[in-house]
Amino acid sequence: MNMDARHINAFLEATKAVFDTMLSLPVEFEKPQLKSANHTHDVSGIIGLSGDVVGSVVVGFSRIPAAQIASALAGSRLEVGSADFADAIGELTNMIAGGAKAKFEGLAVSIGCPSVVIAPNHQISSPSGVVGITINCNTAAGRFAIDVVFQSCGKASTKTKLATPSAAADPSNTKLPIGNPI
């Protein structure tokens, strides 16, 4: 099972729901693109997917957006590296990944407990030969990226190629047409 438009749309919808509901912070999505090997972050929330799909979700930030978004979720000012900062980033990642996987119709997928990496310009590597996508997201608190990597685990596979949806500020216009594999 490789990623297709339904899976990407699931992440768009889940992210929008989390930011609208829990942060009162509108989020806009750029065109999803293939994940670059040298994509770096200062802060990464990481959560594993297992079951009918195996992979990971990384929500990656620069320092300032990370602090502002974590603070918006927690309802109080959080500095990068403070005691509650990693917890907030982990919970944000948990809600995005959990919300998305709940929309994976017909697939039994479990998520693990989130981990958080805080280090300047770090990379989160994926296994070789596995295609991932990056969804860049913009908010008034700054920019962040969602990197999603799925690995086949024996179910029917779909040919992998990059879809080319039109970029749009409106999240609903950024959704990919169902049926387009990437």
Binding site: D20, M22, N94, M95, G98, A102, C113
Partner: protein, 126 residues
């Protein structure tokens, strides 16, 4: 009302405590996982349990089975990202009384808490 709040995320516990505060709930005990919660139930004697599913050490569904196995009938609301129908059914069958999916609005969680407590009161009065 005495509420036992079980979630490994301090951030989520703070958010939920904010919702409970708007409802006038001040007697709140916190636990970071199911095992931690089991060690606190006898002393705290909750009227309501709010429970996350995915936690380290002991997850929410294991807690529910252990708690109901102790013949304790305190209402439990699962507050989780696990929104698939089969997950909801699994939780209900294990003994969860109601279900709230993250993300939630303060109003939606408050409504679920109120309806759960109303049903529990009606059941007790019957």
């Amino acid at each position: 009302m005495r509420v036992l709040l079980i979630d490994d995320s301090k951030t989520m516990r703070k958010i939920i405590k904010g919702v409970l505060a708007t409802m006038g709930v001040t007697e709140i005990e916190e636990a970071g996982d199911g095992q931690d919660a089991l060690s606190k139930v006898d002393a705290f004697k909750p009227d309501l349990i709010l429970l996350d599913w995915n936690m380290p050490v002991m997850d929410g569904i294991t807690f529910v089975k252990a708690y109901r196995g102790m013949k304790k009938m305190t209402p439990i609301i699962m507050v989780t990202t696990e929104a698939e129908k089969n997950r909801v059914m699994e939780a209900i069958q294990a003994g969860v009384n109601n279900y709230a999916v993250k993300p939630f609005t303060p109003e939606s969680l408050s409504t679920i808490i109120q309806s759960t407590m109303a049903k529990a009161a009606a059941k007790q009065a019957a």
